[in-house]
Amino acid sequence: MQIRQLSLFLENKPGQLRIPAKVLGDAGIDILTMSLADTHQFGILRLVVKDTDRARAVLEDAGVVVNVTDVLAVDVPDRPGGLASVLEAFENAGLGIEYMYPFATRERGRYATLLFRLEDPAKAASLLQQHGVRLVSPAELFARAG
């Protein structure tokens, strides 16, 4: 159920965000979603693309520092209190969240899809399913992204 996410180390200087975007664009790789975590000195850009391995290869060829990390995609009911109910399930399953960010989806009105980074994604996936949390498989996620 894990989604493979790319993490890029960016130094805080002009052009650092454009370089990976250009490299992926030139390789015809579509960025499905992204999130930027930053301090005043460096940032970590997290990306989800369909062809993770090829994206990693072209980024590394361009001198970008890249890691691949597993995250989980979770469907959260698109209504007030929807996120709280899902987070309650996390809590009941005893899972801590490292970070989360939304996935651009076409399921608006029914579900909001969020990506979660958890300590042990494989174990977390089965625990969350036992707690009734709706996980999205990579295939389904990519299909939604179009």
């Binding site: 180390f9 301090t39 001198g63 520092v65 970070y99 980074r117």
Partner: protein, 451 residues
């Protein structure tokens, strides 16, 4: 003043049995002293043929006839780098020009280059000194040695080259050039021994790893590194990344080049080749000897150099001397690592800091490659120090928390070692400039502002 830590290194693997290249390395101390005295008298006589030395000896009121014991060494005037510069290019020559067979020069990183000359006998002496420390550190005639020092005015390339040939090993005079080429040559020619600066050895290790080579894929077994100060931690890092034993050696062109001192298999300090040099360890301010075993500035007098002898040359290198007997049987006093130079010492908000201390702190932090650059500035009244630290690709953590923890740990270690808070900047692998010569570790913007 920084203390030098000598780490017990344990037994060496087979193939590193103790062997003397020259019986003179184990001369009993009393015979050694007698030899030193005779050679010191000859040196003073020889130096007195040089106008600049003759004047200095006159001012000090001392002549060769006044040297009756080794204690009289202290009556001799000091020689400093500026004396060499003032006599540019070869005003300190003590032999007729036609006896000179080679000229070398310092790198000139701290000003105008300075030149030193060699007679045929000087070259023969020098070659023998290099052969001694190479054999002490495992070199045998059956080995192939990759020399990645530049060949040129710098004494490293040619000095090591002829020493290796003297031992009877095969030299690959690879010289400078790009690092992937070095890696390929080492791999294709099967060198067991690497010669270069310690920072460049580490870089060769990085490039080999980036090309997917493991230490086992190379035949390298050991290396002799010198030409710049380094730390015990960097030694371990080089040994780990290349899968080799790393030996330290010491020398400077003004005195002769590499071969002034080198490690034996015990690797607890470098034996000074005292039958050819007298080394003093002095407080750089008072110029009095430091207490036994403490760090001070090394001051070296050559004993056999014909073309350009030096009297009490102030090396600016800071190290400690260890006069205890060594289990290897060599009788030359051992010098510890050079912990800094009395002139590359940074004074940050009144505190003395050596770049090697920052390196030591960085290496204590697991996951930090020892490529770094210290930038000192004074934007307002106070000094500020920024340390740029290169990450290795494997150091990237997806969680910001872990990256900040890494940065905080570097911050704490640097503070613990130097007593100074420096701002830490993590930079991408390869972001800092590499050079096959001396690595540039410090940019001091304050000096630029003053000048």
């Amino acid at each position: 003043m920084a203390s030098s830590s000598i780490v017990a290194r344990g037994a060496l693997p087979p193939g590193f049995e103790n062997r003397l290249y020259d019986p003179a390395e184990a001369l009993p101390r009393d015979e050694l002293s007698a030899l030193q005295l005779r050679r010191l008298q000859e040196t003073v006589e020889r130096a007195a043929r040089v106008p600049s030395y003759r004047e200095a000896l006159g001012r000090a009121g001392v002549s060769a006839a006044d040297i009756r014991s080794l204690d009289d060494l202290r009556r001799l005037p000091f020689t400093v780098k500026d004396d060499l510069r003032r006599n540019y290019p070869l005003g300190l020559l003590a032999v007729p020009r036609e006896q000179v067979v080679r000229i070398h020069g310092s790198s000139g990183t701290t000003g105008r280059p300075t030149f030193v000359a060699y007679t045929r006998r000087d070259l023969d002496t020098w070659t023998g000194l290099v052969a001694r420390f190479l054999v002490a550190g495992g070199l045998r005639p059956e080995h192939t040695v990759h020399v990645a020092f530049g060949y040129g005015l710098f004494t490293g390339g040619f000095g090591l080259h002829y020493g290796i040939e003297r031992v009877g090993a095969a030299v690959v005079p690879a010289g400078g050039g790009n690092t992937p080429r070095h890696v390929r040559l080492i791999q294709d020619l099967g060198a067991q021994v690497l010669i270069c600066t310690p920072s460049y050895a580490l870089h060769i290790g990085e490039v080999a790893a980036a090309e997917g080579l493991r230490p086992d894929d190379l035949a390298l077994r050991f290396g002799h590194f010198g030409g710049e100060p380094w730390t015990e931690e960097l030694r371990q890092e080089i040994e780990r990344s290349l899968g080799i034993l790393a030996f330290n050696n010491y020398g400077l062109s003004e005195v002769i080049g590499p071969g002034v001192a080198g490690e034996c298999g015990v690797r607890e300090g470098m034996h000074v080749q005292e039958d050819h040099f007298i080394v003093e360890c002095l407080d750089p301010k008072t110029l009095e000897p430091v207490p036994e075993g403490e760090v001070g500035e090394l001051v070296i007098t050559s004993l056999t150099k014909e073309a350009t002898p030096v009297l009490r040359y102030r090396t600016r290198d800071l190290a400690a001397l260890d006069r205890r007997p060594c289990p290897c049987g060599r009788t030359g006093v051992r010098m510890g690592r050079v912990v800094g130079r009395s002139d590359d010492m940074l004074i940050i908000r009144g505190v003395n800091v050596f770049p090697s201390q920052v390196e030591e702190a960085l290496l204590r932090v697991d996951g930090t490659a020892p490529q770094y650059l210290i930038e000192v500035s004074r934007p307002g009244a106070l000094d500020e120090v920024k340390v740029k630290v290169e990450l290795r690709p494997g150091d990237l953590r997806d969680e910001m928390r872990q990256m900040i923890e890494l940065k905080d740990r570097i911050d704490r270690e640097i503070h613990a070692v130097t007593g100074i808070r420096m701002s830490i900047e993590l930079v991408a692998p390869g972001a800092l400039e590499r050079s096959p010569g001396k690595a540039r570790r410090v940019i001091d913007h304050r000096k630029a502002a003053v000048a």
